[in-house]
């Protein structure tokens, strides 16, 4: 068995003296792991940094085996982000989230495309809002999508500023006013588009984080990835006021 595909390195762990087990998000095969002989060596270590886009060749005798990866870097996203704590935090948070949330060997091309968009955008203006959209897409792909089209109570499509934590559906300002303290806030950029400030991104991540924790991590008795929490802390410190 063998195949060649492009994938983002999500996580690596040491295996023996010199090898690593790398987990990748590939376009055709979803989250896929493989052994990299010599992955700890100084020559190969830069290749297998989280966030890097790698062209990999996977080989195994049987499809159910772990198999081995050989790879070469197509885009060194990790190196681009190393100097900036926020960019590095966003990259780590995205990798940790996808690694923890997606099942193995199940293709999710939409998530892959979202990941491409995020990694390409990191370092450019407004990139954190793409992480929010990636998380929304992740919920959608896993069957827990949010309905932000119209108000769950009145059906109106204007003035949507809340999301119900029970139904994951949008609620308008008018209908939600009596329950405002129990509803989640919906940042405008997720409804009408446009640019998002840091506060909007924080609201968006709190919204998606609530549902990702409830539907994806909590059933496995796991918390949200600490890397995501650290990224939120960095964002909060940069938020005005």
């Amino acid at each position: 068995m063998d195949w060649i595909d492009d994938g983002f390195v999500l996580h690596t762990r040491e295996h023996g003296e010199n090898a690593i087990v790398a987990t990748l998000l590939t376009r055709e095969r979803g989250r896929h792991a493989g052994l990299v002989h010599g992955g700890m060596s100084s020559r190969q270590r830069p290749t297998w940094q989280p966030g890097n886009l790698v062209r990999v060749e996977w080989r195994a005798r049987l499809v159910e085996h772990l198999g081995t990866f050989k790879g070469e870097v197509l885009a060194a996203h990790a190196a681009r982000a190393l100097d900036d704590p926020l960019e590095l935090g966003g990259l780590s948070a995205a990798c940790a989230l996808i690694d923890g949330a997606l099942p193995e060997r199940e293709p999710h091309p939409a998530i892959y495309d979202g990941f491409v968009a995020l990694m390409t955008a990191i370092g450019h203006e407004g990139w954190p809002s793409i992480l929010v959209r990636l998380e929304l897409g992740l919920l959608q792909e896993l069957g827990f999508g949010l309905d932000l089209e119209k108000c769950a109570a009145t059906g109106v499509t204007e003035g949507l500023i809340y999301v119900s934590p029970k139904t994951a559906r949008a609620v308008s300002a008018e209908a939600g006013a009596p329950y405002a303290d129990r509803l989640l806030k919906l940042p405008p950029f997720l409804v009408v588009g446009g640019a998002a400030g840091i506060e909007d991104v924080l609201l968006g991540l709190e919204l998606t984080g609530y549902f990702i924790e409830r539907h994806v991590f909590w059933p496995h008795n796991r918390p949200l990835p600490p890397a995501r929490e650290r990224f939120l802390d960095l964002l909060r410190r940069q938020a005005p006021g």
């Binding site: 003296e17 966030g51 990790a78 190196a79 190393l82 100097d83 590095l88 890397a227």
Partner: protein, 198 residues
Amino acid sequence: MTGPEIDRLIQLLAKLPGLGPRSARRAALHLLKKREALMTPLAQAIGRAAEAIRTCSVCGNLDTTDPCAVCADTRRDAALICVVEDVADLWALERGRVFAGGYHVLGGTLSALDGVGPEDLNIAGLMRRARNGVVREVILATNATVDGQTTAHYLADRLAEIEGIKVSRLAHGVPVGGELDYLDEGTLAAALKARRAM
């Protein structure tokens, strides 16, 4: 084929880095052939080292004295601390003889995926040392990996709370003797980003 003592010796040698069962067998045979010249002195040296070596309570280095020889050396600049991930990194810097300050060994890096948090590293000790009024500069010499730099940014944030401390980090870029043609894209990008006027 061999007695349990020799089997045990081979098993233990095979656990050393760089040795597998076959090379461990060769090493054991070599030791057995040079029992007086090598095996007994080696066993004694290992025994003595195991008894004497301790972790330095100041920097986390491994030495036979506490504080270690580096921390006890009064010729070193106590105002400079170089933070490294591991004792191996400290030894590498010492081999180069390019740094004459103190060290601080973290004992690893923050790793969200592997569940290593700040409380698992020797960060509290670093903060105590940085607050002692003597330290002027902390050099973050963590590896140029995602985990290494995440740790460096975290430490820079924590150290910013302390007034009068300069925080710096090692440069990333082209190694001495390196050819651009053979460098990976990430190193080239880092080298370009950190270019200097001439």
